[in-house]
């Protein structure tokens, strides 16, 4: 394919339409119905964890799947936003909606700063710069006085939504709020990919020199996508801090960047549903192996290897590919 793009990525074509809009709409509605009923059968906090990671992976997929840039530093946006939201909620006493929004803005701001340096490079160099910058954010979180060092920020109050109307200390109430946030975030990704801006992103991905020769300042488009991806990752991180009432170094460590890559790759890079499926699968694996003595990283590692060796398009990507033949 295109040597300028990273060889790390499988050669997949992002899907902008399933070819069957009625089927896609139907599946979306069924999925939404299942998610609305789910907390009656499954522990809501576990479901909220899946939703947060689904949004995080979808935000990551916006960049890797539709711009072709493999970031290895998305933990900085997720974790940075988790700290920002936790701080705003706990220390400044902000209402939850403002706290989460602040987290998303911090994520986008970090994205602007990191993207400014990273988008000038391509392939593995881009990945390495994002990793290096994300490690700098990690060390700030480790050392800065307001992050609580190794302890992180604990006991973040969930508070009340809409000026005291909705009590978020109820897991069920919070679940529906998180479901709404995630649905909004996923819709945002869907809309961006299928917008006039998304068309230009696709053109840049397909033939960057040609896009330049048509007068497009491609760095700005890439930076725009990077900031949107970071902002949505921040939305996920801020929401996660509210759900678990916690922001820790785990959220901002490089393993988190690796985990979101795993989720997206497993579900299917460049597919809309892939990151959601991948996030659910990885979260479920971690959940069920958390109580066993068998180390969960070995399981996720094996799953990752199976994915790379056997179905490089990811679960959803593979299904779509076979469906179309």
């Amino acid at each position: 394919m295109d040597a300028r793009r990273t060889d790390v990525l499988p050669d997949v074509t992002p899907t902008r339409s399933s070819g069957r809009p009625a089927l896609a709409l139907g599946l979306t509605l069924v999925g939404l119905a299942v998610l609305i009923a789910a907390p009656l059968f499954v522990y809501p906090v576990f479901l909220m964890k899946i939703l947060c990671f689904a949004l995080f992976a979808a935000a990551f997929n916006l960049l890797v799947g539709y711009v072709g840039l493999l970031s290895f530093g998305h933990a900085a946006f997720f974790g940075g936003a988790a700290y920002a939201s936790a701080h705003a909620l706990k220390v400044w006493g902000w209402p939850p909606e403002a706290g989460i929004l602040f987290g998303a803005l911090v994520g986008a701001g970090l994205g602007l700063a990191m993207g400014f340096f990273a988008i000038r490079r391509q392939g593995i160099y881009f990945s390495m710069i994002t990793l290096a910058l994300a490690q700098m954010v990690f060390f700030v979180c480790l050392q800065a006085p307001f992050t609580g060092g190794e302890d992180g920020i604990q006991n973040v109050p969930r508070g009340h939504l809409l000026g005291g109307f909705v009590d978020l200390s109820s897991n069920l109430n919070l679940y529906y709020v998180v479901l709404g946030i995630t649905a909004f975030g996923l819709f945002a990704v869907w809309r961006i990919v299928r917008s006039p801006f998304g068309t230009i992103l696709e053109a840049i991905r397909e033939n960057e020199p040609r896009a330049v020769s048509l007068g497009y300042r491609v760095e700005r488009y890439k930076l725009g996508a990077f900031v949107m991806s970071a902002g949505l990752a921040g939305l996920a991180g801020g929401t996660k801090a509210l759900v678990f009432q916690l922001a820790t170094l785990t959220d901002v460590a490089w393993q988190m960047s690796g985990e979101v890559i795993l989720m997206t790759l497993l579900g299917g890079i460049g597919t809309f549903a892939g990151p959601v499926v991948g996030a659910a699968l990885v979260a479920a694996l971690e959940h069920y192996f958390a109580t066993s003595s068998f180390p969960v990283t070995i399981i996720t590692g094996l799953v990752f290897m199976a994915c790379v060796l056997l179905f490089r398009r990811g679960i959803v990507g593979e299904i779509q590919h076979r469906w179309r033949r």
Binding site: R194, S195, P196, T199, R210, V212, S213, G215, Y216, R217
Partner: protein
């Protein structure tokens, strides 16, 4: 030269790690002309193209477009001034339809390029203009075909339609006939003649019969330097030009 040049260079030079690819080229392209840049392989034609459009930065020398020094400009900004180039390898967006290819070129000036909150359905507003451009290059029957599935000649035609969508004042075509079948060459030649009305065209071309047929002015490059300049008849009689070409043919 009577009229002022639309594009000129002064002492254009490009070195790659000690190798001088372009050495002191003074080029002058008259407004409204079809100007060919020819020369044996490795003469530096494509490098000159890259320097003119700022895809490469010259080691020294200047590029002046309509009296304005564009040497330090970003390539996208050069395109915005109306100096639009094509590429030697056909430059289409392969997984987009022919219609969508042209629309991408129209999007920026229509103000549709940065809207991320609207549906791409709004781009249908550009369809009429895009279809008209496809019609101009004889591709109206292939509007819904993916660019990757078009024949080579049609890809080049699509590329020209996409370039014309920007309404450029100066078209830079890098080997528009390269690798093209005989019947396609005639069609694309006709196309270039048509689009050159009211525009200036600078083209790199290997096919000398196309150059003789099409171009008002010819610049011959050899080893990164201008060997001769003039009409096709003038330069083809130049013994140094003959030698450069013969030399390359025997090599």
């Amino acid at each position: 030269m009577t009229s002022t040049p639309i594009l000129s260079t002064a002492g254009l030079r490009k070195e790659f790690r000690g190798f001088v690819a372009v050495n002191g080229v003074d080029l002058s392209v008259r407004e409204g002309s079809i100007h060919a840049l020819i020369g044996p392989n490795g003469a530096g034609k494509t490098t000159v193209f890259n320097l003119l459009t700022q895809f490469l930065k010259p080691t020294s020398g200047r590029v002046v477009y309509r009296g304005r020094d564009i040497t330090a400009m970003a390539p996208a900004d050069v395109a915005r001034l109306g100096l639009v180039r094509s590429f030697q390898i056909s430059a289409v967006f392969p997984k987009l339809t022919a219609l969508a290819n042209v629309r991408v070129a129209l999007q920026r000036r229509a103000g549709f390029a940065t809207q991320f909150w609207r549906s791409s359905g709004v781009l249908a507003a550009l369809d009429d203009r895009a279809r008209a451009l496809l019609d101009d290059v004889g591709l109206s029957a292939h509007a819904e075909t993916d660019a990757a599935d078009l024949s080579y000649g049609r890809k080049r035609a699509l590329e020209i339609a996409t370039t014309l969508a920007l309404e450029p004042d100066l078209l830079l075509l890098d080997e528009p006939m390269a690798g093209m079948a005989h019947e396609d060459i005639g069609r694309v030649s006709e196309l270039i003649r048509t689009v050159a009305v009211g525009r200036t065209v600078l083209m790199v071309e290997h096919n000398l019969s196309v150059v003789a047929d099409l171009c008002d002015q010819v610049t011959v490059l050899a080893r990164g330097e201008v060997l001769a300049e003039g009409s096709y008849d003038e330069v083809s009689r130049d013994p140094r030009v003959r030698e450069a070409y013969m030399g390359s043919e025997h090599a």
